[in-house]
């Protein structure tokens, strides 16, 4: 695909030779349909997409998320879908469910994506997160802003990028699928299977109501394959399909000092320091190479199968170029990036103690707070990780509580840590790559691509998909289209235009030719 040239990692990559040097890809009707439609409607596609991105979509604001759901339903109705909202109750973010039954189809495929975005409070947004802004490239290249891109001549430069929250994570895959429906229709074709769409509205909040929604609608959602459209592409820029994702389990730690702030000259040598205590606590949980120092944490880790190992070995080496592009002298581990997903990770998302800058004071803070998450592998159960974690803290001399300590508790325990577990923990999920449905998904995309794609046994991130896959007892395939450097979950999230174009082709192939 001409538009899928890597934009950051250009050296040392074993980019598939059959796509190089102008070798012609085998003819493919879906690809032709996608490209014909897209070339004729580039501005219109981007107008729909940016209009969708302009809707604030942080799921903590119910009115915002309702507005997104309404817009999404309009977009789906325009493509002939029947829609309904699935919700866990009033005031909770709805899942937008849509269905298209295809006469004669034997299989049903459920497509999952989420239309909510990560919180936006990060410093450093160059343009407001819900004011989609076109720029000529990635920020590292000091791109120009294209204020009048709607008036630009087409074809639009595929290296341009749209900057907005949710551009890559995850509205791009929704726009790609809906545009693929347009392309199929224009080519006089129908989907090859019955299509169900499951567009979640609170994935970035940890999917707190997903379990109930799935449980309440099991028959409605039943499918033979789940295709998940979330997450970025492979760092090599090549199309990948993944067959699993890690689980996630978040928590907040609070460590306590004196009841009031204390002058650190008078009391620093004598009174407990929440800052020093939380540093020691955190440093003790993680070794420099990322190994987790919690007894029993690796007991339930399932090693990669031979099939996983073969797929991992076939992934192009990206680590060296990736490290250079990120300004990293050395990763913390010698493991390949994708290999590392077969082990759990303990991340420290944030630490906050005391004031800095103009509010800095020579004081001992009364408490220190850290935000952590575990990324879990398939057989690890969140409830067991919770109890291993608590037990480890207790073993290290901490009194573990789930609420703010009262005075008697403070006076009884020298080292108190409050542990607040995030709601919405999710387990990992993993599909056998050799399952017929999984092979069919790979084949459909490879036809569009004109050659082999990358098969990733499991991605490092997490998704509500795990719950869905488990509940529906169906295989899954994760199809990502966003550029890997899309700053998802951070400021200046963006989507490369060429990635949207390629995504439309991929979805056209999946919708038009997927069958088994």
């Amino acid at each position: 695909m001409v538009y899928r040239r890597p934009t950051v990692l250009t050296a040392g990559l074993a980019v598939a030779t059959l796509l190089a040097a102008g070798a012609a890809a085998p003819a493919d009707a879906a690809r032709d349909a996608a490209e014909a439609w897209r070339r004729a409607h580039e501005t219109r596609i981007l107008e729909e997409f940016t209009s969708f991105l302009a809707l604030p979509d942080v799921a903590t604001r119910q009115a915002d998320i309702e507005a997104n759901a309404s817009r999404l339903e309009e977009m789906l109705h325009a493509r002939g879908f029947v829609t309904r909202r699935l919700s866990a109750g009033p005031g909770t973010p709805p899942t937008v469910f849509a269905e298209m039954k295809v006469p004669g189809a034997r299989r049903t495929v459920l497509y999952y994506a989420h239309y909510d975005g990560q919180p936006i409070g990060q410093a450093g947004w160059l343009s407001p997160p819900f004011q989609p802004t076109m720029r000529t490239g990635p920020l590292k290249d000091d791109p120009e802003t294209i204020a009048d891109w709607r008036a630009a001549a087409t074809p639009i430069n595929p290296d341009w990028r749209i900057y907005a929250r949710a551009a890559g994570d995850d509205k791009a895959s929704i726009e790609a699928l809906l545009t693929a429906m347009d392309a199929l229709k224009a080519a006089g074709r129908k989907p090859s299977v019955n299509v169900k769409l499951f567009y979640e509205g609170e994935e970035e909040q940890g999917s707190p109501h997903l379990a109930q929604i799935v449980s309440d609608n099991r028959d409605l959602l039943a499918a033979d394959l789940i295709i998940m459209g979330d997450g970025p592409m492979h760092q090599s820029g090549r199309q990948q399909v993944n067959f699993g994702s890690r689980g996630v389990l978040g928590l907040t730690l609070t460590v306590y000092g004196a009841l009031r702030p204390l002058h650190d000259g008078h009391y620093g040598s004598w009174a407990p320091s929440p800052a020093a205590d939380i540093a020691r606590l955190l440093a003790g949980l993680r070794e420099p190479d990322g190994t987790i120092d919690i007894a029993g944490i690796y007991d339930d880790v399932r090693p990669p199968t031979l099939s996983d190992k073969a797929a991992l070995a076939a992934l192009p080496p990206v680590e060296g170029d990736l490290a250079r592009s990120l300004g990293i002298a050395a990763p913390i581990t010698s493991a390949r990036l994708d290999d590392s997903y077969f082990r759990p990770t303990l991340n420290i998302r944030a630490i906050h103690v005391g004031d800095t800058g103009p509010n800095a004071a020579n004081a001992l803070a009364t408490q220190a707070v850290a935000s952590l998450d575990f990324r879990l592998t398939p057989d690890e159960r969140p409830e067991r990780v919770r109890s291993l974690f608590d037990a480890e803290l207790a073993r290290r001399g901490w009194f573990v509580t789930d609420h703010a300590p009262d005075l008697p508790t403070r006076l009884a325990h020298a080292h108190i840590v409050r542990v607040d577990w995030d709601p919405g923990a999710s387990r990992a999920v993993k599909t056998d790559m050799d399952a017929p449905a999984a092979r069919a998904a790979v084949l459909a995309i490879e036809r569009v691509e004109g050659g082999p794609i990358l098969k990733v046994p499991m991605v490092g991130a997490s998704s509500g998909i795990a719950l869905l896959v488990t509940a529906l007892n169906a295989p899954m395939a994760g199809v990502s289209i966003a550029n890997y450097d899309d700053n998802q979950h951070a400021e200046n999230e963006n989507l490369r235009i060429g990635n949207l174009w390629d995504g439309i082709a991929v979805y056209t192939g999946l919708l038009g030719d997927l069958n088994w």
Copy 2:
């Protein structure tokens, strides 16, 4: 002194028996003069004081600090002082210098205090920091606010407190001295020595221009004794005099990760974590009991003399009650609080990495920042501590720099820490408690008190006084009047009214009877 009853620590204290059970203190003219004046003018004294506190006095705002200096000069002129401003140049906070020559006086005493306050950005102020608010007691007792205290009958309850920035640190000692001048005058008396006042305007900013001001005005400032009016009283509530203070040396550490934020599911097992790195760095520098793990850091520490040890042993034990009142199960060390000041302390003032709360993201931050300070003992030189610190970091594998690393630096070093030393480091200072001037100061206060006071060899905090004492080559005595629980350097700073009354008496004794 009837007003100096401890307000927090009431149990287990060896409060001087001669003040207990109504035992009559020896007659003292200065005390009588102070009490007579104060009883007749309580509201007027508090009006002057709160009006002074209402002036914002964070020294980063030059206009604010100038307004304070002007008000202070007015207050001094009203007492017959000749004043002048000493400054290191335009746009820098002035020191207000004042002088009163007394015919026939053989000695000259320089009184030091500072009229600027700590920054005010801490969360949790119950009333605006520059809107002095009278409440019926300490916050822990859920005090009532007395909006109309100016109309309250006198005597005003000495347990009431004024809440405002700088109430205890350090405008109280200025108000006490000036009111003592009024009391002496009303009694027809004059100071026993020539009086010089040195009121600094940027102590809470680390006294960046003090060295130059002192150096430029050495003859003007010359004195036989320096009395420093800063810092809180002993935790027992008893009057104390101290003869030294520790130095301070602040710094900011910045640890670097990737150039852009990374999704912690995709990259957390592979990419450097600034949060984990700074936790490990900090945890390695400080043991749980506060011992500093920096090679050579204790080489220059001077042990207490026999005289110091005797004074330390005579201090009432406050640690148990203090810990209970602070909600601390156990201090980090078995050392007595005042004993601990004979060793340096490494404080972690703040740590900040990533976002929490509504802005939390599952991302690896690009950097982590920590703010530290060292409290130093008399023979420790800041420049040596700086080099020991840098050497320790290097020994632990860190590449130490004083500026943001560029890309080649990032790619060359896996562990980079930027160290920014605060301006205005100060050395510790310590006077021999047996020096005649020091003994005279103790005697003058003991006459007012009617019995022995506490002699503290060295306080844990730091002050610009060190530089002044060193430059003028004069002995020093630190006379504190603020309640020890005045929340100095934090939100809800406050002064107990009874402490101001007692402070007026102490200063009346010092001004009226100090001689040797």
